[in-house]
């Protein structure tokens, strides 16, 4: 899917696919049932469809994006990417409408009451905001840069999972968590040239701009959950492949310095 996306968005789609396939984070989470996996896959389909020109592409993209959001909310920044890819307001409105419908439709096995569905959204917000505390945006930013290792417990208190009739408690542990934003470590430091270049690419509507919404989102997510990074891997693979194709010579020099630092 990334290779297919790459044909539309990058100069070197095969390299993008290879980077993603070789991503250790993906190897690890391939065997772990997490909602992120479905959310990222569906969001990739949504972006692929959003790049099409016809109205039916916008409709299908909205459905895929709605299902992605119904898997996990953390994929929400991709909505910005999809809207960014729409050239007409009408298509953007259709996309948003089908996305909302598809999201709501996932509740059909449980209820048809809009009131109950809305109440569930509020419950989820309440639940998540009461659990995800403790680390600031600055911590997240520094962790993303790869020079700050968060030690758990990141929370001051154990997590109460509020499950069924009983309360599961996730006990704090002292084990360090290695943080890998760009999970093909030790290429972590490539982020330094990548983000400024993504900003520059925004002007020309280049592929690197695709990275922006998710990268910005990740700056504000808790840095200690490695699976949050799964959402960044496909756009990062695309962007990195594009970057390597375009700036081979310059990046070779930067990589040398990075490897030196990584070895330190």
């Amino acid at each position: 899917m990334v290779c297919k996306l790459g044909h539309r968005l990058t100069r070197n789609p095969r390299l993008a696919a290879l980077l993603l396939a070789a991503d250790p984070l993906y190897l690890v989470y391939a065997s772990t049932p997490m909602p992120d996996v479905y959310a990222v896959s569906l969001a990739c389909i949504a972006v692929l469809l959003a790049a099409g020109n016809k109205m039916r592409d916008a409709l299908a993209s909205g459905v895929a994006m709605g299902l992605a959001l119904a898997s996990k909310w953390t994929i929400a920044p991709v909505v910005v990417t999809i809207l960014y890819l729409q050239r007409h307001l009408k298509k953007a409105v259709v996309m948003l409408a089908t996305m909302t419908l598809a999201y709501t439709a996932t509740y059909l096995p449980a209820t048809t009451s809009i009131h109950l569905i809305a109440a569930h959204q509020l419950k989820m917000i309440e639940f998540m905001s009461s659990q995800h505390l403790g680390i600031s945006c600055l911590d997240g930013f520094l962790a993303i840069l790869g020079f700050y290792t968060v030690r758990i417990p990141p929370h001051e208190e154990p997590l109460h999972m509020l499950f069924k009739g009983h309360t599961l408690i996730q006990p704090p542990t002292s084990a360090p968590i290695a943080l890998h934003l760009i999970s093909w470590n030790p290429g972590n430091l490539v982020l330094y040239p990548l983000l400024p270049l993504a900003l520059l690419a925004h002007r020309n509507r280049e592929v690197l701009a695709y990275l922006l919404p998710q990268a910005a989102f990740l700056l504000f997510t808790p840095p200690y959950y490695t699976w949050y990074r799964l959402a960044l891997a496909p756009p990062l693979a695309l962007a990195l492949a594009d970057l390597l194709e375009k700036y081979q010579q310059k990046l070779a020099m930067v990589y040398l310095i990075q490897l030196f630092l990584a070895l330190i």
Partner: protein, 150 residues
Amino acid sequence: MKAAKALALASITTSALAYLVASIAAENLASASLISFSEYMKLRYALLPALAILTMLAAWFAADVLKPSIPYQPLAPLLLCLYLLALREKLLRIEKCSDAYIYIEAGVAYISGTSPLELNWEHPPLAKYIIGLASLISRSYWAYAAQGQL
């Protein structure tokens, strides 16, 4: 041009060395208990990232000025070795998420008829439906455990 190249080389070397010295100093001061843990963390929070950013900017600047004719290909074996090292570390050290078991349990319950509105409000239900269905089809250990059959 010569002056620009010299400046680029000087900035890159100075930044990299400053980074090296600061890292070693922070580690040694902490291990010798000359600075507290919180001071060590402040160093890691502020000084080292700042120096690292400086080094990266210097490297980018140097690459721009020097316009090196470094072919990318010879780096490949080195990158591959580092990748394999990182992969090993990752596969051994990444902590698998305990939340996964909760999603299996919730997913199996959803498939069995429990409403997502009543149980596990962590995320919207679609992925948990898929996980629950897959767990039941594959007759996984955790699906049986969730149904209380173990």
